[in-house]
């Protein structure tokens, strides 16, 4: 038994933390890409903004796409509710609200993250500092994750944390795929060309999957990358992995509370679409459509969980 509000606070704390790490990876991938390929810089930053789901918001405040402005917008702009600083602050506010449900280690890790990033992001981050700041965000996120996994009891509290994490991760990874889906389509790709190699690398890097993809020793190609990021159950950022874990954690809640809620069926539906299929089928049905429908189903699942477990009412 726990308060509905607490369940919601844990869920959002973890969503926001996941988003901060995802944003940092998007900036890193974009930054790397534009260092190697100056020509397409604007288009790359536009797709980074698109992947972070803030392109419109950015356009409302800036007339043109400019590397420094985009990075600042994604890292520290308080008017951007998804900037790293905004989400870290939101994560900490949620952590404060659910302080009673967290171990001292987890709370201190979240609080420490907020304090360090508030310092690091107090002023605009220069080109020179950027790698250090991104590294800091990555380290802090590892610190929170470590505290969470190392000290929390495996009960409903933990389950709501995990559900938030995987729901957010699904959204982040699916958006990256969606923005870049055209470079993953067999029809338009020029296999082996340098252009697409950069694009592919950026996609993998955005999902923190470039090393593990290399370990697979597969030939780099759009099909293999799409398969890896969507279907590979060993990759902690693949959509299939996320849904296996969503279903598992919702299952623990169901067993714990002894009651099946509607969100479970919704979760299993999407899980089926990610586990009982192959990449050929997905590509034939249209990669873009597939990803879009996953994003929508994922949003709907989030709303249903919120209702089923009485986060707000």
């Amino acid at each position: 038994m726990m308060l509905g509000k607490t369940a919601g606070g844990l869920f959002w704390m973890c969503r926001y933390l996941e988003r901060s790490a995802s944003n940092a990876r998007l900036i890193e991938a974009g930054s790397r890409m534009t260092m190697t390929r100056a020509a397409a810089e604007d288009a790359e930053w536009a797709s980074v903004l698109e992947s972070a789901n803030v392109r419109h918001l950015y356009a409302e405040r800036h007339e043109s796409i400019d590397r420094a402005a985009v990075i600042d917008f994604l890292l520290r702009d308080k008017t951007n509710p998804s900037s790293v600083m905004s989400v870290v602050e939101a994560a900490r506010n949620n952590a404060r609200m659910v302080r009673v449900a967290l171990t001292r280690e987890v709370w201190e890790a979240v609080n420490d993250t907020w304090m360090k990033l508030k310092d690091a992001l107090a002023r605009q981050v220069s080109e020179k500092e950027l790698p250090n700041v991104l590294e800091l965000i990555r380290q802090q996120s590892a610190q929170v994750r470590g505290a969470l996994h190392g000290t929390m009891l495996r009960n409903d509290i933990f389950n709501f944390c995990r559900i938030g994490t995987f729901l957010e991760r699904t959204d982040n990874v699916a958006r990256i795929l969606d923005v870049k889906y055209y470079v993953l389509l067999p029809s338009v790709s020029m296999v082996g060309s340098t252009i697409d190699n950069y694009q592919w690398e950026a996609i993998l890097r955005s999902a923190a999957a470039e090393r593990s993809f290399a370990w697979l020793n597969k030939e780099t190609g759009p099909r293999a990358i799409a398969e890896f990021l969507i279907l590979d159950q060993r990759l902690p950022r693949s959509l299939a992995f996320c849904y296996i874990n969503l279903a598992r954690n919702l299952g623990y809640l169901e067993a714990d509370y002894g009651e099946t809620r509607p969100c479970m069926a919704m979760c299993h539906e999407t899980l089926g679409r990610l586990t009982r299929t192959d990449i050929e089928t997905i590509l034939q049905g249209g990669l873009h459509e597939f990803i879009q429908s996953i994003v929508q189903a994922n949003n709907a699942l989030g709303l249903q969980i919120e209702k089923d477990y009485r986060f707000y009412a």
Binding site: M1, M2, L3, G4, K5, T6, A7, N93, R96, M97, R99, V100, R104, W107, E108, N111, D112, M115, D156, L253, Y257, E259, Y309, R310, A313
Partner: protein
């Protein structure tokens, strides 16, 4: 208490040799290097920030999370000193509880002519809706903070009773933890009575006050106004340490004659609510209709015995400084004994003779609002400018019954650690008292507040005061 004497120094008394309780500490301190201590003091601050023990200061947008400065030199009491203090506090708290029951029932104390009727009925803090209500276990003041000041070897006074919502207990606990971490060796040399049992004692005490409607182990929750409240850290801390739920008003509603909290599995009744929300905001149906912090209808459930509210609504009248001035009578009336702990002499400005005296001696007196707290809205005569005194004189003349006055006490000092070594600063002490039908339980020590500015008598954290660990020695 003559004004010419320098203030009493609790470490050295009136002499130059450390007093008994401080001897071991001073030996240790002498042998320490200043550099190491400076480093430790800095570490302590970092530890507090990491833990998030901050408090919000109202009306200061920018630095809205501040640390209360912590001083590394403890405030030490011998067991004998503590014994006599705690006997006095227990007597006083029992009397307060009896007084509250009386003024909401037969008002014997008014009938006996010990307190004028209007002091009760016309008091803003008197909650007429509590008349005739019987709180579970007849307890009104479940948690009390009694502010104690000292002026000499054996001269202790009660400065204030905090029976509404005393705060600061989390600092008492965290200060000790910090001392343990920084100077473990000190606790081998000195046998200090533990404070860490407070949350368990609080839980036990609250459980003992469960309402009749409760079946099984009482469900306890802490009601907070939310994360923006200045004491939110403490609310979360106490809930956490007690193993209670931390709820806000919108987590609760009335369901089937009980107050219930919304959980992931539906609504579940709460038996005891340790509320850190003021009376006025507790129930928009019964009190302030604009309150967003409370629970509609909770007071009706309370009246019918469906929930325990700690502290009971209407206890705030005991914090009133005009009522304070009657405490010696109150103690005598309900316990049949003389008060063991004296009050600070107090002039009620509502009485013409007193008012005349106060107006004539403003430069020497401390004048306080009867409903004020937190060190706001008071005049410290000796520290005030002519202009401030003139302005206060006007306020006082236009609404005399809103004020009381007290002599400026030469509050005792305990040294703090500064860049130049030890420096005496004024302190007060707030012990925390738990009351249940099973008895009165006082955790040894309490929260020592210290004025960090030289010569300042204001120790409130909202006014730049700091805190110290408080030790009660085993012997």
């Amino acid at each position: 208490m003559s004004e010419q004497d320098p203030p009493y120094n609790e470490m050295f008394g009136r002499g130059e040799v450390p007093r008994d309780p401080y001897q071991e500490y001073c030996k240790w301190f002498e042998a320490e290097e200043n550099r190491r201590l400076k480093k430790k003091a800095k570490e302590a601050e970092q530890a507090f920030r990491r833990t998030g023990i901050t408090f919000n200061v109202y009306g200061r947008e920018e630095a809205n999370e501040r640390l209360i400065p912590f001083d590394i030199v403890p405030h030490i009491l011998s067991n004998r000193e503590w014994q006599s203090l705690s006997e006095g506090i227990e007597q006083r708290v029992r009397a307060l509880n009896a007084f509250l029951h009386d003024i909401y029932h037969r008002q014997e104390i008014v009938r006996a002519g010990r307190i004028p009727e209007h002091m009760i009925s016309e008091n803003d803090a008197y909650l007429s809706k509590m008349i005739g209500v019987e709180p579970p276990g007849s307890i009104y003041t479940h948690i009390v903070g009694t502010d104690i000041v000292r002026t000499g070897e054996n001269e202790f006074f009660v400065l204030e009773d905090n029976a509404r919502t005393p705060s600061g207990v989390s600092y008492m606990l965290e200060n000790r933890e910090t001392m343990f971490e920084m100077f473990p060796e000190l606790f081998i040399r000195n046998k200090v009575r533990p404070v860490s049992t407070y949350p368990k004692r609080l839980r036990r005490s609250l459980e003992a006050c469960a309402p009749n409607a409760c079946s099984g182990r009482p469900v306890i929750a802490v009601l907070t106004p939310g994360i923006h409240n200045s004491a939110y850290f403490e609310h979360a801390f106490l809930a956490d340490e007690m193993g209670a739920e931390l709820v806000e008003g919108h987590d609760l509603r009335v369901v089937d004659g009980r107050v219930a909290m919304r959980t992931t599995q539906g609504y579940m009744p709460v038996d005891v609510l340790y509320r850190r929300v003021d009376d006025d905001f507790l129930d928009p149906l019964n009190f302030n209709p604009d309150s967003m912090l409370g629970v509609p209808g909770i007071f009706d459930i309370y009246r019918s015995g469906g929930i325990t509210l700690a502290n009971a609504p209407g206890t705030g009248i005991a914090d009133d400084k005009a009522i304070y001035s009657y405490m010696p009578d109150i103690v005598e009336f309900y316990t049949g004994e003389k008060a063991k702990l004296p009050n600070v002499p107090t002039w009620r400005c509502s009485e013409p003779d007193s008012l005349a005296y106060v107006l004539e001696h403003l430069e020497e007196l401390v004048v306080k609002e009867v409903h004020g707290s937190g060190g706001y809205g008071m005049l410290v005569g000796p520290a005030a400018s002519k202009k401030e005194i003139a302005a206060f004189r006007k306020k006082l003349q236009s609404k005399p019954d809103g004020y009381i006055a007290q002599p400026t006490l030469a509050l005792s000092t305990v040294p703090i650690f500064t860049a130049k070594g030890l420096a005496p600063r004024h302190v007060d002490l707030r012990p925390f008292v738990l009351v249940s039908p099973k008895g009165v339980d006082i955790t040894p020590g309490g929260l020592t507040r210290v004025a960090l500015k030289k010569g300042s008598l204001v120790v409130n954290s909202s006014q730049g005061g700091g805190t110290k660990d408080t030790w009660v020695l085993e012997s």
